[in-house]
Each structure stands twice: as C-alpha cells, then as structure tokens.
C-alpha cells in the first residue's frame, strides 16, 4: 500500500515548465532521495506535493486522500509535513514557540495539549541543543541548529511523511553529517516516511534508501541509492553526456 502516489504531475511557472509528467509511488517507511542538477525541477516537485505551488496537471494522492491543489495547511493536517528550502525558521519567535506553531492545528481535539507536550519532549530528546536554548530567538541560531529546528518543527505536527528540501544547503559537511544521522535515526524510531530533495547524490548514496534522479523536469533514473551510485548510467545522466 503506497502512502504517497503521484501520477503525471506537471508544474508550470507562466510559460516555463519546471516539472513534466512525473509519476511515482512511495511506500510507508521508505526513504526517497530526489537528486539532480540545479534547475531539474526537484524543489518545484516538492512544492507541488505539499500544495505550496499547485500542480498544473496530474494528481497527488496521500494516505487515501486526493490532495491535488489543496491548501498547504490542509495537506499538513493530513500528516504530510514539508520543510521548505532555506531553513526558514520563524526568526523573531523563540525555539519553543517555533516548535509549538505546528501543534496548533490539532488544537481542540481531545488531549492535544498533553500530546503536544510529549512531542516537544521527543523533539528535545532528538535535538538536545534545541532544549538547551529553548527560549533563544530562532533567528540567532547557527545554520545547523536552524536546520534541526525546522526538522523538529515538522515533527511536532506528528506527520506520517516529512518532505525536506535541501537539508544540506549551505551547511558545513560535518554539520550535514549530524543532520542526516538524526534523520536516519528518526526514520527508524518513528517509522517515518522521508522524501528528501538533495543536490548531492553522494549524500544520498551514503545514506542509502531509494534514489531518483531528475533532469529537465523529468525522472530519468529510479532505484536503490547505493546501486545507482555505482552505475555508469548515473554518471552519464547526472552530467548530461558531457554537456557541462
């Protein structure tokens, strides 16, 4: 049974087509990397799934709901939490306030406060640095801490699928290592499904899981990350047969 399924999704910005007819399914508990060069349409695809940029055509199903063209807040309520690119923390809010924002959508349901409190403790257990600085303004955190905060914020909504856009962007390699370490641990602990857009295919190969390669708005390769990494097809697809 697939958790997320896309059929023939396309995304257009005016006359520019960023994603052309993408179709794939993602099973519960899977970790999928979408890699590819700049401008391949990776982020556009993610934004279309999360409802931030409604797709121009095609259909997205998530957890037995047709979510095509729905508002991002409604999609988030169904359990698909997106971490947008650029670690956009709520800069003037404290760390704890950042984390609590996501729990608001469950407000009113029975026992939501207690659940929010236990989610918060769970996030603090995963990222102890956030607990130490819980009342610090989020805008003052370092890049790595902000990345942990936005992942923590996504977890606070108790999601089934977390979609992350470029978690390594602008981070030092050792910080990126830490972020990935936590992500992989989280997937194991919570049976979380992960969809990660990552420009570096090496990262994906190191982490394992499934990998898709996008180029020119289309998916050109799909398979096991480690196996794909070794193949010549990958090199050829990534570097576009020497046109770089």
């Amino acid at each position: 049974m697939s958790l997320l399924s896309l059929s023939n999704i396309s995304v257009r910005y005016g006359r520019l087509t960023a994603v052309r007819g993408v179709t794939f399914t993602l099973a519960e508990g899977e970790m999928l990397f979408i890699t590819g060069p700049n401008g391949a349409g990776k982020s556009s695809l993610l934004r279309a799934i999360a409802g931030v940029t409604p797709p121009a055509g095609g259909r997205v199903d998530f957890a037995d709901h047709d979510i095509t063209g729905q508002a991002p807040e409604d999609i988030a309520r169904l359990g698909l939490s997106m971490v947008p690119e650029g670690r956009d923390v709520f800069g003037s809010l404290t760390i704890e306030e950042n984390l609590m924002v996501g729990t608001g959508m469950h407000a009113g349901s029975r026992g939501w406060r207690a659940r929010a409190a236990s989610e918060l403790e769970a996030v603090y257990a995963t990222f102890p640095i956030l607990k130490d600085r819980r009342h610090a303004q989020a805008g003052l955190l370092s890049g790595g801490q902000q990345q942990m905060l936005v992942i923590g914020r996504a977890l606070m909504t108790t999601p089934r699928l977390v979609a992350i856009d470029e978690p390594s962007l602008g981070l030092a390699p050792n910080i990126t290592d830490q972020v990935y370490e936590r992500l992989i641990a989280l997937r194991a602990e919570r049976k979380l499904t992960l969809l990660i857009v990552e420009q570096s295919s090496t990262r994906a190969m190191m982490a394992g899981g499934r990998m898709m390669l996008m180029r020119g708005g289309e998916i050109v390769l799909d398979g096991d990350a480690r196996a794909l990494g070794q193949s010549e097809a990958m090199q050829a697809a990534y570097f576009g047969y020497g046109d770089h």
């Binding site: 991002p72 988030a76 956009d88 923390v89 709520f90 609590m100 409190a117 370092s142 914020r153």
Partner: protein
C-alpha cells in the same frame, strides 16, 4: 527539567511585560490626579486614548506584519455608537432624526457604550476582514485604506443617522482619568493575551515566514481575521471613549489625522512589540505636550520665552526621522520590556537583538 509547555507557563514567563506597562500607565494617572490641573488631566486622558488606539493597531499590525491604514474606521464606528446610545433622546431626535425608535430612546452609561462600540466595531471588522484578510502585503494595506475612506464617506453623508459632517454634540463628558486608565490597561492585557495565544503564535509565525507557517498547518487568513476582529474591538472601545472625552464626534475626528498620528507612534515605538506600542505613545505624546507648552510661552525670570508657532510639527518630524535613522525597527524593535536590560545579557547566551528583525541567514 521536564516542564510542560502549556499556555500557562508562557503566560508566567511573559506577564511581566503587561504588568510593567500598566504600572507605567498608573504612574501617569497618579501624576494627573496629584497635579489636579484640568488641562493636564485632559492631556493624560488623551494619552490613554492614544494608548488604546495604538495597542489596537499593534494587535493586528504587530502580530500579522500587515500594515493597516484603516483601523481608525473602527474607532469611528465606536465613536458614533457612543453618540447613538448616550445622548439625551430629545437632542438625538433633532440632530439624528433617522435613528430607529429603540435606539432613539436608548440612554446607557458611558462604559456600556464603550462595550457596545467594541461589539459594533468587531462585527464590522469580521465582515470587512472576511474579504480583506485574503490579501497580503501592499494590496491588503491599500484595501484597509479603502475601507477607511468608505466608512468616512458613509458617516459624512448619511445625514439622518450621523448628522453628516456637522458635529454631533451632547455626549456626556467623562472628565476623570480612571475609566480611561482601566480601558488602556485592559487593552494592553488583551493584546498581550492574544499575542501569546495559539492564534497569536500562529500569526507571528506567518508574519516571519508565510510558506513555512502554512506548511505547519497555519490557516493564515483565519488567524489574521481573529486578530483583525480583536483589534477592531479595541479600536471601537477607544473610539467610544474618545467621544466621551470631548463630548462630540464628527467623521473627520476619525480620519487621516488620527490614522497618521497613531501609525507614527506605533512605528516609532516598534511595530513588533507591545511595549513599543505603549512606549511610542508615551514618548511622542509627552514630546507633543512639551512643545505645546513651549509654543505657548514659558516665563524664565523676567523675560518670557516662546517658540514660534508650527515648531511643534517640525520638531516632531525631526525627532521621528532621528529615531528611525538610528533605530529603524523603532525604539523597542521587536523585543518586549521585561525589566531586564538585553544589552547586558550573560555572555554565551546572546540576548535578543532589538535593533533589527533577525534574517535567519547566519550559518
């Protein structure tokens, strides 16, 4: 230390701000009471009314980041509610003959009029807001301005119920400072309670990063609407009390002049901070008052010294430019007054940067 992140604990941590601000307001009220001078008393009442208006503005603008040029319209709605409900029926029937009979006969105390004004303004904020809150940025700001122009135009022309542009007189005047103090303190606490509430938190998140807020499940138009209605209610109560402070209303009392004074007080104090809203009013109002005295003339020994007329506006403009040059985010920036000095925060635990909005691009 496992502590439950309930609203109560946030309240305990932040309540010092509205308490300190209230203490500051009480000091002003006591000064007016002790001085016992009529003009000074009136000045302090004006200051409290400005506090109510600017706190009302802050409730929406500060939390949402959307500049509204139209909130004074809600003060207008509240002011006329006071006129409709408190003037003696005999006077009403000659000035505003078009009022329905039940309203014509109504004569309620001023505090009830303030509550009614708040309710009436909140209702219209809900109606206007349901449409306006879907807009963002400059489009939203222009639309709020259009709302102000509409309300002003209706109240300036609906002869039979608003007496058009002529003053509606006969509103019972309340000269003591205490009711105004109570209303100002209540509005400060209402604004504080909203900004730490679930909706306030969601709205502040949407102000910082709309996309990420929506991805966290925040329904942005809805939380904006909640703030719009609450701030409309505060403005409405302020408008009704304003009417009781001078005893008359005209549509132009609540138009461009009041819009720009209140907005500049908020900008000078710091748009993202409740303390900024209150302190902006106190500083600018005090300055205006001092300049007024100087214009009227001060006796120094034998000779008397007076500034030429018009210096008040010029000096006020210069002070505003200077404050905004050196503190572009206003006196308080986005931080709240907690009685501690953020500049002397412990090393290693950086205090809030209260000069500019953090951009979050440090790596």
């Amino acid at each position: 230390m496992a502590r439950r992140p309930s609203t109560a604990s946030v309240a305990r941590r932040t309540i010092v701000t509205p308490v300190l601000l209230s203490v500051l307001l009480v000091i002003f009220a006591l000064a007016a009471w002790a001085a016992g001078s009529r003009p000074f008393n009136q000045t302090v009442i004006d200051i409290f009314l400005q506090v109510i208006f600017v706190v009302g503005l802050y409730t929406f603008i500060g939390n949402s980041g959307v500049i509204s040029f139209g909130h004074v319209a809600f003060a207008c709605l509240g002011g006329y509610v006071a006129a409709w409900t408190t003037i003696k029926p005999m006077m009403k029937s000659s000035a505003m003959p078009g009022l329905p009979d039940w309203l014509m006969q109504m004569e309620i105390p001023f505090w009830a009029a303030a509550i009614a004004g708040a309710g009436f303004a909140a209702f219209w904020a809900l109606v206007f807001g349901a449409v306006l809150m879907r807009l963002s940025g400059i489009a939203a700001s222009i639309a709020t301005f259009a709302m102000l122009a509409m309300v002003n135009s209706i109240y300036s022309n609906w002869d039979s119920v608003t007496a058009a542009t002529s003053s509606v007189v006969g509103i019972p005047i309340v000269r003591t400072v205490w009711p105004y103090l109570v209303a100002a303190v209540l509005s400060v606490f209402a604004a504080w309670a909203f900004s730490i509430s679930r909706h306030g938190l969601a709205l502040r998140a949407a102000r910082d990063e709309p996309t990420a807020a929506a991805a966290s499940g925040v329904d942005i138009p809805r939380v904006r609407l909640v703030a719009f209605v609450l701030s409309g209610a505060i403005m409405g109560a302020g408008g009704a009390l304003y009417a009781h402070s001078i005893g008359l209303v005209t549509p132009d009392t609540f138009y461009l002049g009041l819009t720009f004074t209140t907005l500049s007080m908020l900008v000078v104090g710091g748009m993202g901070s409740l303390s900024g809203a209150v302190i902006g009013v106190l500083i600018l109002s005090s300055l205006i008052q001092i300049l007024r005295w100087l214009e009227a003339g001060v006796a120094i020994g034998e000779s008397s010294f007076a500034l030429p007329g018009g210096v008040q506006e010029i000096a006020l403009g210069v002070v505003m430019i200077l404050i905004l040059m050196f503190r572009p985010a206003g006196i308080m920036g986005n931080s709240e007054w907690t009685g501690r000095l953020p500049r002397f925060a412990k090393p290693g635990a950086p205090g809030p940067d209260n000069r500019s909005q953090p951009t979050g691009d440090q790596t």
